[in-house]
Amino acid sequence: MTISHFSAVLLFSLFTSVVFGITQRAEPKMMMRFGAYCFVLFVGGTIAASWVMWLIKH
């Protein structure tokens, strides 16, 4: 099995955000909000770091 780097980021972020959301908040609504927040931070942080590395290289 091979996947792209971006697919790996999405899968990692999805699974990790689900666990963080369930374990770090008590109410279902807050779990979903925190999970979504973590997902956006994971994916957004990776894209931002990727652009920083691209700028350093060029």
């Binding site: 099995m1 091979t2 996947i3 780097h5 790996a8 899968l11 990692f12 999805l14 699974f15 990790t16 689900v18 666990v19 963080f20 369930i22 374990t23 008590a26 109410e27």
Partner: protein
């Protein structure tokens, strides 16, 4: 004149624990959650959370194996390998299954396989977080 005895209101005081606290022992919830991802929440009757945790952790572990990630073993002598082993061990029975069936023993040759190694380690660490959450629910430290 009789004096009124006042007990300090501290966390852990029996009087502050409500009756809805689970009858499942916190240690049992933790061990079950560690051995089988989501089992701690399942024992506590949190079906949806258990299913989501199991899907996430088992899914992450399975994708790591499918990406030809490495399963660490104990006593390799390398400090980083020992940390990897500690992370892998968090997967509980999944780690034992992988060792028994010989998964993750091939040398890492491609970059995606290294991602697989990280997926497996993080799945173990997330399982520990989930098991601790089950412990907190069983002990009443986390209300719902």
């Amino acid at each position: 004149m009789p004096t009124k005895v006042q007990y300090p209101l501290v966390a852990g005081d029996k009087g502050l624990v409500d009756d809805s606290t689970s009858r499942v022992s916190p240690a049992i919830a933790f061990i079950a959650g560690w051995l089988i991802p989501g089992a701690g929440h399942l024992l506590l009757g949190k079906w949806i959370r258990a299913a989501l945790l199991m899907a996430s952790i088992v899914g992450m572990f399975a994708i790591g194996i499918a990406l030809q990630g490495k399963i660490y073993s104990a006593n390799t002598g390398e400090p980083l390998d020992m940390l990897g082993f500690a992370g892998d061990l968090g997967s509980g029975i999944l780690y034992g299954l992988a060792r028994f069936l010989g998964w993750g023993q091939a040398p890492v040759l491609v970059a995606v396989a290294d991602y697989g190694t990280k997926f497996i380690v993080v799945a173990g660490l997330l399982n520990i977080v989930a098991a601790v959450d089950a412990h907190s629910l069983a002990s009443g430290r986390k209300r719902t």
